[in-house]
């Protein structure tokens, strides 16, 4: 690391009569601003992440709830199946909402009959509106 830095400095020189000073190369101002550094880091991260996560972070939800949705996509929520996988002792793995199947992320939000009813309500209220437009 130190070698790399000194390599970078090898070609640099200060012209006679000119003062040595710090500049920030990203952006036209040449002075450091936090937002410029933030965007620089964020650009790399955005390129790495898949389109679904980009959509998630661009939506209008408050960050804490977008985080819950991220945990659903990544299967990181503390559902009963995930708790038991982490070694937490729990009485039953059954879904708290329907009581029929094991409570995994996939089941709780998409397979469960309760979740299904919620998605159907959404479809009934707004689905037809979208088709007609």
């Amino acid at each position: 690391m130190a070698d790399q830095l000194s390599q970078l400095l090898l070609g640099a020189g200060v012209a006679p009569g000119e003062d040595d000073s710090w500049i920030w190369k990203d952006g036209g101002l040449q002075t450091f601003i936090v937002s410029s550094a933030y965007n620089l880091v964020r650009k790399d991260k955005e390129a790495d992440s898949s389109p679904i996560f980009r959509k998630l972070w661009r939506c209008k939800a408050v960050p804490s709830e977008a985080l819950t949705a991220w945990r659903v996509l990544e299967n990181k929520l503390a559902t009963r199946v995930n708790l038991s996988r982490r070694g937490v002792l729990i009485e039953s793995l059954r879904c708290c909402l329907c009581g029929k199947e094991e409570e995994s992320c996939r089941h709780l939000f998409f397979g469960c009959s309760f979740a299904w009813r919620v998605w159907c309500l959404l479809q009934m209220a707004w689905g037809s509106v979208c088709v007609s437009h």
Binding site: K60, A69, C96, L121
Partner: protein, 80 residues
């Protein structure tokens, strides 16, 4: 047929987040606060929650909750 604009997609993604996060908090209310499973309550809360996010989080959008429930597509078009 006109394709829905980018802003409409953003609102649908927001609705998805609203549904998923509300199902999770509903589940937690049942587990920790002895709540009763009620799909219509979840849906009603999603409607309120997404309306508050969308109407406070965009500069140009200004619509009432009743507009949002009755004419969601018109409201979505207003979101910047």
């Amino acid at each position: 047929m006109n394709l829905p604009s980018e802003s409409v997609h953003i609102v649908w993604n927001t609705i998805w987040v609203g549904v998923v996060s509300e199902i999770w908090s509903h589940r937690n209310r049942i587990v920790f606060k002895r709540g009763v499973a009620d799909a219509s309550e979840v849906f009603a809360l999603v409607q309120v929650k997404v309306w508050s996010w969308v109407s406070t989080n965009s500069r140009l959008a200004s619509f009432s909750f009743s507009d949002w429930c009755l004419e969601p597509m018109e409201c979505m078009r207003l979101v910047s």
